[in-house]
């Protein structure tokens, strides 16, 4: 296990959190975990917890599942959400979400793990 993976747990390992990484040198932020900053190459990026609030950037309602185990869930909504920390995440969401909706994240079980699930913020 890399140190980056040890220091935080998030939805990809079953903890109800969306996390991201940030560069202490150039201040850029990104979602997909790695051991360096993809913008400036600096090592030891910081791991941060996202607020889980954002705006829907794109949406699709999936009717044809990629694997047999997902079939019982169709149709399910997949969204790209621009979260307030300045990065984009892929997640599930309420079926009627539209582009531009203000949303916040909860978590739901899916295919043996959990996934972020966005609903309209009240």
């Amino acid at each position: 296990m890399s140190s980056a993976q040890e220091v935080f747990a998030d939805w990809t390992s079953g903890t109800e959190v969306i996390s991201y990484q940030a560069c202490p040198v150039c201040k850029s932020a990104w979602y997909f975990r790695r051991r360096f900053c993809p913008s400036c190459g600096a090592s030891d990026p910081a791991t941060k917890q996202a607020s889980g609030r954002g705006v829907v950037y794109a949406e699709t309602l999936v009717h044809r599942a990629p694997v047999a185990e997902a079939r019982e869930h169709v149709p399910y909504k997949i969204v790209l959400v621009d979260i307030d920390e300045g990065l984009r995440v892929m997640a599930h969401g309420e079926a009627d979400l539209e582009i531009g909706d203000r949303v916040s994240a909860a978590f739901k079980p899916f295919l043996g793990g959990i996934v972020p699930f966005f609903a309209k913020s009240s």
Binding site: Y31, F32, T60, V62, H63, V67, L80
Partner: protein
């Protein structure tokens, strides 16, 4: 300088009992015959990949099977952009003297060599294994996301996209090798079953068996070579989650690099061969490349501009949407058809003027782009 001296294409659809190597061999044999070359004339081989028959050395496996001992050979992997990337590389290798005649070949029994579920599942793996694939996306879902945003920003409708599916089907009806032979209407596209909104079944290319090949040569060995006069690539991201803004995707920079050497203007293009994995892919690429104004690809199609008798004939074999999509060979069919058109051998599909063609392929989720210009030899 390089020429495409020969091209070969199998029919797409079901080829029961044919393996990846069988389909590659069928296409390679007909490309060789078209170029008037024998196996011993081929000193380079580039091939794509096969999801049904993954191998760490597919080019060598094929060379041995087909009976060639090339001095240069390897496989290339750029997803749907592989065919055009191989054409570009072959052009560079021939131009720089590494080889004289390069056989570019791909084929796959993607339809009958595996279950449909296996095909859908293996393709979905282009997503991020940790942050995307666990959400259960499919390739249509990745493109459905892109489509939702593009339609939102540019006022494109589902009917607009359907028009492009109908156009590709009209063209396929005139090609005996196409997978589909029944005409479709906009209403039928709209009524086809939802796959990943806004994309419906008839917005999506099928899974096919098939093979395609072409020969890229230093000399115009055949009487029907066409000249490669510009190539360019751009790679902006791999995953849809990390894609840049729609206005910063790779089609335009790839095109600019391909245009550079000869200063080619887009208005001079007479024939277009554009990647069309989904109707949204085709609409976006046509507009990103400047072949239609923003949001107006469907309007040009409705006007007949992209038809065989139109001002800018497009994918006259039916494209991935209706000729079919067998993986790497799918987009190579666009190049084979372009070659036929530019050499006046497209039969009932022959366009009036294909003197300058633009070809464009993309891989991933609009991640990797390859543009190429071909010019008729006078």
């Amino acid at each position: 300088m390089s020429f495409i001296t020969g091209a070969g294409l199998t029919s797409f659809g079901k080829h029961e009992g044919r393996s990846t190597l069988d389909l590659m061999s069928m296409a390679a044999e007909s490309a060789l015959a078209d170029a008037g070359l024998a196996r011993r004339d081929i000193d380079g081989i580039l091939c794509g990949y096969s999801t049904v028959q993954p191998h760490i050395m597919l080019a060598t496996v094929f060379a041995e099977h087909f009976g060639i001992q090339p001095q240069y050979a390897h496989a290339v992997q750029v997803g749907g952009g592989t065919g055009m990337a191989m054409a570009m590389l072959a052009h560079i290798l021939v131009t720089t003297g590494v080889a004289k005649n390069i056989l570019v070949v791909a084929g796959e029994n993607r339809l009958t060599g595996q279950t449909r579920d296996a095909a859908v599942q293996s393709l979905a793996q282009v997503g991020h294994p940790v942050f995307e694939v666990p959400l259960g996306p499919t390739i249509p879902a990745y493109y459905g996301l892109v489509a939702s945003r593009y339609m939102h920003e540019h006022g494109v409708t589902e009917e607009d996209l359907a028009v492009l599916a109908v156009l590709m089907r009209e063209h396929a009806l005139m090609h005996p090798g196409a997978q589909f032979h029944d005409p479709i209407t906009v209403a039928e596209v709209m009524a086809s079953k939802p796959i990943a909104t806004p994309l419906k079944l008839l917005d999506c290319c099928p899974v096919s068996d098939g093979g395609a090949a072409f020969i890229v040569s230093r000399d115009d060995t055949s009487k029907h070579g066409v000249k490669v006069i510009g190539t360019g690539q751009a790679h902006t991201h791999q995953y849809v989650t990390t894609a840049p803004a729609l206005s910063d995707l790779g089609a335009a920079p790839a095109l600019a690099r391909a245009s550079e050497e000869r200063g080619i203007a887009i208005r001079d293009v007479r024939y277009a061969a554009i990647y069309d994995s989904f109707t949204i892919t085709l609409a976006m690429l046509l507009e990103d490349l400047g072949l239609a104004k923003r949001g107006e690809a469907a309007a040009r199609a409705r006007n007949g501009d992209f038809g065989i008798m139109g001002a800018l004939p497009l994918n006259t074999h039916g494209g991935l949407l209706s000729y079919g999509h067998c993986g790497v060979g799918g987009a190579m069919a666009h190049l084979v058809e372009t070659h036929l058109q530019m050499t006046g051998r497209a039969g009932q599909r022959q366009v009036k003027d294909a003197s300058l063609a633009l070809l464009h392929g993309d891989g991933g989720v609009l991640s990797s782009h390859v543009s190429m210009f071909l010019e008729q030899v006078r």
